[in-house]
């Protein structure tokens, strides 16, 4: 008889724990965020009064990407080295990432890139190109494995195209 009683009390303890768990689960489910919004960070161009200091400390390699209404251009600060025309409605971000990967391999320490955008380019295209500047996705070493993400130039400075 005593044994039976003890078994019953064990059951009761489980029920209270279960109640707590049910409340916890419902609370966590309610507070869970399913569509997640992330942020695309910018490196701000510095103010004019500070450019003197910036010029002295600036890295020797400058990578500029011009986002024009009809093409993408890659430059080194003085002249334009590559021009990727827009294919139909889309910018050729895949080729851009490939070219930037070559630049990254040549200057592995460089993390900065300047993106110059023309006034009539829309925001979605700009974000797409910024993605292409920040990272490139390459197929994994084995067949069917996940895409590997290689960071290119995460510090993007945005300015207006000349």
């Amino acid at each position: 008889m005593f044994k039976r009683m003890r078994q019953e009390s064990e059951e009761l303890e489980l029920t209270t724990l279960l109640n707590v768990l049910v409340v916890l689960v419902s609370f966590l489910l309610l507070s869970a965020v399913f569509s997640s919004i992330t942020i695309q960070e910018l490196n701000m161009p510095q103010h004019a009064d500070r450019t003197a200091g910036i010029n002295n400390a600036s890295p020797p390699v400058v990578i500029e990407v011009m986002l024009r209404h009809d093409a993408l251009e890659i430059g080194n600060g003085k002249d334009i080295t590559d021009r990727l025309p827009k294919a139909g409605d889309r910018y050729d971000t895949a080729t851009l990432s490939r070219k930037l990967k070559l630049l990254k391999d040549r200057n592995p320490g460089n993390r900065d890139v300047i993106l110059l955008v023309e006034a009539d380019v829309d925001y979605a295209n700009m974000i797409g190109v910024m993605d292409a500047l920040k990272f490139v996705e390459v197929p994994g070493p084995q067949e069917g494995s996940k895409m590997l993400r290689i960071t290119l130039f995460p510090h993007v400075t945005v300015g207006e195209a000349p």
């Binding site: 279960l18 689960v25 997640s36 992330t38 942020i39 695309q40 701000m44 979605a124 797409g128 945005v158």
Partner: protein, 161 residues
């Protein structure tokens, strides 16, 4: 309920006790796994509210939003921290590089948050929530207004792909 029926029930429950406990245990296992999963997946980031008519662009970045001044660019108006500040038509036709009402609104928020460590993010960071069709010329004006007000960190809200 009389004592005898209660006793009767109890003894019956004790007979069935084994299977009932087993069922509860498996249910509890499920719940514990669920709780752990939800706890781990709970993001600590700040949830950004976007109006229905603002469609964010998609992006592959995975930085979570932080506390910041929220600027929403919709078709009709510019809203800062939920308050309508200036009409969009006015911003589009303006020839100035900096938009004065935006600058003033941000300056006010900055002054408000000046001595409040809990709102430190409001002093230095701006998040721009813009529709995917917004032109860069407009973005540039907004960004310039923020930069002139002393906000060094500007981010764009995007949908995670």
């Amino acid at each position: 309920m009389t004592l005898s029926t209660a006793k009767h029930r109890r003894s019956r429950a004790a007979h069935k006790g084994d299977t009932a406990t087993m069922m509860l245990t498996s249910l509890m296992d499920i719940f514990i796994v669920l709780v752990l999963y939800l706890l781990v997946n709970q993001s600590s980031g700040i949830v950004l509210e976007t109006p229905d008519h603002v469609v964010l662009p998609d992006s592959g970045v995975d930085t979570l939003p932080r506390q910041s001044v929220l600027i929403v660019l919709s078709e009709q108006e510019v809203r800062i921290q939920g308050q309508p500040v200036v009409a969009m038509s006015e911003v589009l036709t303006s020839n100035e590089q900096e938009i004065a009402p935006i600058r003033q609104a941000i300056d006010r928020i900055k002054a408000d948050a000046q001595n409040d460590p809990a709102r430190a993010g409001l002093r230095t960071e701006v998040t721009i929530v813009a529709d995917r069709g917004v032109r860069f010329s407009l973005l540039n004006k907004v960004m310039r207004s923020c930069a002139d007000a002393g906000y060094g960190k500007i981010s764009f809200a995007v949908n995670q792909k």
